[in-house]
């Protein structure tokens, strides 16, 4: 390994990197300190760069004043993400296995028909979804958010690609030994696709943690809000009243909302980035 040469060009490159780092870290720092400042300090001129009157009120008064409960919203978000991720993985792994390993009629057309959902914008489905939920009586119900998101076109595609790489001999020889299809799936396939399940779990969880437009449409009462809807609610209540924005509430709720993801990222940093890149997608 040669020693790193600190030429003029390299020094400039590293100064640029420091600027990029600051452009990411400084805004995040401002969010964190704002979450712990009382209202009169947030709107003080000049602004303080460290909370002078440290407070946790933003995390609680946010709740009392605005009828939104941060803990409740976090639980709702978690519930949706966990159920959607588990459900999507269950259905998609089964379907992915069928498309990868089994022979049946109309396999290709059915697969393409399923895959077409991946490029279809959600925008096109929202009006019918809303109407269906009215009929089913699921307006303002968390189930409405979950149920439409159990069909993961990307997850089926990803699972099929991954399972296709498994040699068919494994499956064939198990069949000759008289194993049922379910046994083959559970005992042979499942242990082999653990890495793919890991990637798909992370990606589906992050996706569902981000759901915004559909929950905004279908969830109306504050006790059913998920985190991002609660943040939007607080943001615009401040506007409607003609007062200044509830910056403290926005900061505190965003902090709670982002924290699990940031912790996840710190723990699984490399793995997570690779998952995203191998998946070739961002949202």
């Amino acid at each position: 390994m040669r020693a790193y040469k600190w030429t003029k060009k390299e020094i400039i490159a590293h100064i640029l990197m420091i600027i990029i780092d600051l452009a990411i870290l400084v805004p995040i720092y401002f969010l964190i300190i704002t979450a712990f400042k009382p209202y009169n300090e947030i709107i003080r001129v000049p602004p303080t760069f460290w909370p002078q009157n440290f407070t946790l009120d933003n995390f609680f008064s946010f709740a009392a004043l605005r009828e939104v409960n941060l803990i409740r919203a976090t639980i709702n978000s978690l519930l949706i993400s966990v159920v959607v991720t588990a459900g999507t993985l269950f259905f998609s792994t089964l379907a992915g296995y069928a498309f990868a390993m089994l022979r049946f009629k109309f396999k290709e057309p059915i697969f393409i028909a399923i895959l077409s959902k991946y490029m279809m914008p959600t925008a096109l489905l929202l009006v019918p979804w809303y109407w269906i939920m009215r009929i089913l009586g699921l307006v303002d119900n968390l189930i409405a958010v979950i149920i439409v998101n159990l069909i993961g076109a990307w997850t089926i595609y990803y699972m099929r690609s991954y399972i296709s790489q498994i040699p068919t001999d494994y499956v064939e020889s198990a069949r000759i030994d008289g194993a049922s299809e379910l046994e083959i799936f559970m005992k042979i396939i499942m242990p082999l696709i653990k890495p793919a399940i890991g990637v798909a779990t992370i990606i589906n969880f992050l996706w569902s943690w981000n759901y915004f437009l559909w929950p905004l449409i279908i969830l109306n009462s504050p006790e059913n809000f998920t985190m991002p809807i609660a943040i939007a609610y607080v943001r615009y209540l401040g506007y409607a009243g003609g007062e200044l924005l509830n910056y403290g509430g926005i900061a505190a709720s965003s902090l709670v909302y982002a924290l699990p993801i940031v912790i996840l990222y710190i723990c699984l940093q490399r793995y997570l980035v690779e998952s995203f890149i191998s998946a070739g997608i961002k949202r």
Partner: protein, 289 residues
């Protein structure tokens, strides 16, 4: 005999494995798809049954100033964010392709805004660029002797600010995709060019970027498709305002269909948005072949 029964068993197993998925698809994808297209030819408020009005929604769409404005704003947003994200993504990938600790740290850090949920990242910008003298950025401006700005509340600044936000949020993704592409460029190519005395600019534009072309095209088209549908960040930061300044198609569709409850007209807008995406997808499939 044995073969037949094996084939039958296989089909049956396959059917039972994809049936749950097919049922969910039928109810929440295929049926909505058809209903959406049908609804775009009707006047409908979700409550009373829809009335068939033929092409009226589509004709109205192209006479609707708000719709035209939304298309213009969306095209501006998409072209600016996609081009800047691409150029900066490639530049940052080249910048960070260095064996130092700071480069590794920066690569890791650049993914943080990508991972942070949109609503939380948007809040960061709302707070940073608060439209009063108490805002952090405004304080720095006044400190340097400039007047403070209203940022997202300013008719002329709002869209550029939204574009800047989108780059801050997403450029890390492109950077890391291109960076992982760079890693696959054989070292010998670059070293032999260096031996021949090629400049860095020459190496980047003549060797590295052409080799990355397939990734660049894929990123370009997927970025256009996702930017075309932007909603969450803009809803949280400006709700499409001030005035029409940041009202993209996604926001306009939401207002028409779910605030004014004009489901028919809203569906026509959604069909229009989808048609554009379909054209782009076909283009992508052709380019990649």
């Amino acid at each position: 005999m044995l073969n037949l029964s094996v084939a039958k068993r296989e089909s049956l197993a396959a059917l039972s494995m994809i049936l749950p998925t097919l049922i969910l698809y039928a109810i929440f994808y295929y049926y909505p798809l058809i209903l959406s297209i049908y609804a775009s030819f009707t006047r409908w408020d979700f409550v009373r049954p829809p009335t068939w009005i033929g092409l009226k929604n589509y004709i109205r769409m192209f006479q609707d100033r708000f719709f035209i404005d939304a298309v213009i704003v969306t095209v501006e947003y998409v072209s600016a964010t996609v081009i800047l994200n691409l150029i900066l993504g490639i530049s940052f990938a080249l910048l960070l392709n260095r064996p130092t600790k700071l480069a590794a740290f920066t690569r890791a850090l650049m993914f943080l805004p990508v991972i942070i949920p949109d609503a939380a990242a948007a809040s960061i910008w709302i707070i940073m660029f608060a439209p009063g003298p108490y805002g952090y950025v405004n304080y720095l401006l006044t400190k340097m002797g400039y007047p403070w700005l209203k940022w997202f509340d300013d008719q002329n600044l709002a869209l550029p600010m939204i574009i800047a936000y989108s780059i801050w949020k997403n450029v890390g993704f492109n950077t890391l995709v291109f960076y992982s592409g760079l890693k696959s460029v054989p070292r010998e190519y670059i070293e032999s060019a260096q031996v021949d005395g090629a400049s860095d600019w020459h190496i980047s534009t003549k060797i590295i970027i052409p080799l990355l072309k397939p990734i660049v095209i894929f990123q370009l088209i997927t970025s256009i498709i996702s930017a075309w549908q932007v909603f969450g960040s803009i809803y949280i930061i400006t709700k499409g305002g001030p005035g029409n300044a940041t009202r993209v198609l996604g926001i306009y569709l939401y207002e028409v269909a779910f605030e004014e409850m004009r489901a028919g007209y809203g569906s026509a807008i959604a069909v229009f948005m989808t048609a554009v995406i379909l054209v782009l997808t076909i283009l992508q499939l052709k380019k990649l072949r």
